[in-house]
Amino acid sequence: MKISKRDWTHLSSYLDGELSQRESQRLEERIKKDPVLRFALDELRQTKKILKHTPRLKIPRNFTLTPEMVGIKSTSKAVRGYRLAAAMMSFLLIGVLVLDFGRIFIGGAMAPAMPKELMWEVLPESAADTIEEPALLAAEAQVEVDEEADRAVSEAEGELFQEEAAPAVSAESMEEGEAAGMDSVGEEKSAGEAVRELSNDQEDSTQDKPDEEQSTNTQTLDPQPTAPVYYPEEEIITMERTPGLSTFRVLEILLGVGVLGFMFAAWFKNRRKS
């Protein structure tokens, strides 16, 4: 009689005590009746016994792990020391830099080092606004004065064109006017020259000695404001720079060199080790 796969599984599990009580009882009854099953069970038991006596082999070597095997980079004490020194010096350097820059900004030592144009950028925004305002007003006033002058020139040009329309009359009046005001007997002036002269007079009158007519024109304009000097140069507190290196600078350089030196030493030592 051939033993089924299921019976083999039951026999195997029975050997290990892995069958339930009911399954075990049923199998025991079958084994008592069936010599083939009993024989198979003995064979399995013997096989199990042989396997249990399998000699244990000696290990060929130890399997202990090294830091490299598990990806841990071992660093020597010297390297760790260098790294610690570099870290500490970095902190010191940061501290000295903070102190140095603090001293510069509080003391205003940056002022003399800057060109005048950049001074505006250093001033607070509100101060810059108040300073810019009068300058703006002055510029606007100048624009208005220029516009007035242009207007006067165009009026004079209009008059000249009227004179050209009646040349005889204008020539006479011109000569009379010139004879009265200037010393230009026998000198002929072209219309263009007359215009130029007129406009020059106009400009002179607005700038130097305004006559009555000009003064009425310019009365409507505001007097040209002068920009107040908020930060006169003599009042700017400046710190005189002493020639050579300050203590802070020397400290910064020393600490910087120290940090780089220790970092290089750690890297070099690590590289030599590997």
């Binding site: 892995e18 399995l44 013997q46 399998t54 290990i59 060929p60 792990l65 095997m69 841990i72």
Partner: protein, 201 residues
Amino acid sequence: MVELQDQIKKSIAGDLDAFNQIILTFQSRVYNQAYRIIGEPDAAADATQEAFISAYKKLHTYRGGSFKSWLLRIVSNACYDEYRRRKRQPTVPLFPEGDDGEEIDSPAWLEDPDEKPEEYLQRQELSQAIQICLNRLDIEFRAIVVLVDIQGLDYASAAKIIDSPLGTVKSRLARARKNLKDCLQGFKELLPLGLRQVGEV
């Protein structure tokens, strides 16, 4: 047991020396497990080393319970990987060979200076016979029989290690034992006297 738990805690914290103590405790069992599953000493050594490296890296995943079972599971997986890798590559002889290509009868790792020559010979023959029969099984069946019959684990632990249901363990083990029984009958003369009753009614 308390000492082992302490070593595990230290190892999780990154103490490699503590983990090496664990390795020294388990390395023989782990190597034998690997050797019986793979059947080649070099491959078994590689798998053992890989298993310990993997165990160290995965130690934080250990959630208590039997550490031996947890470790054997890692070893079994390492063995499967190594077995598959070796299968793709040229085969390595089952037993070590000398320079002339002849099999070495007494590899150094099998020697025991305190053992009598007859005992040594008997042990070696039994070991070889079992290994030859194990090698004739598929690796899944081999792993189960090694875990249960050689390492002495119960079905539940074996099921956990191979990540299979209990029924699979039972059926695979029965089939493996049956095949081994048939195979070992061919080596009856090589077996120690006390174990020669296979096939005799």
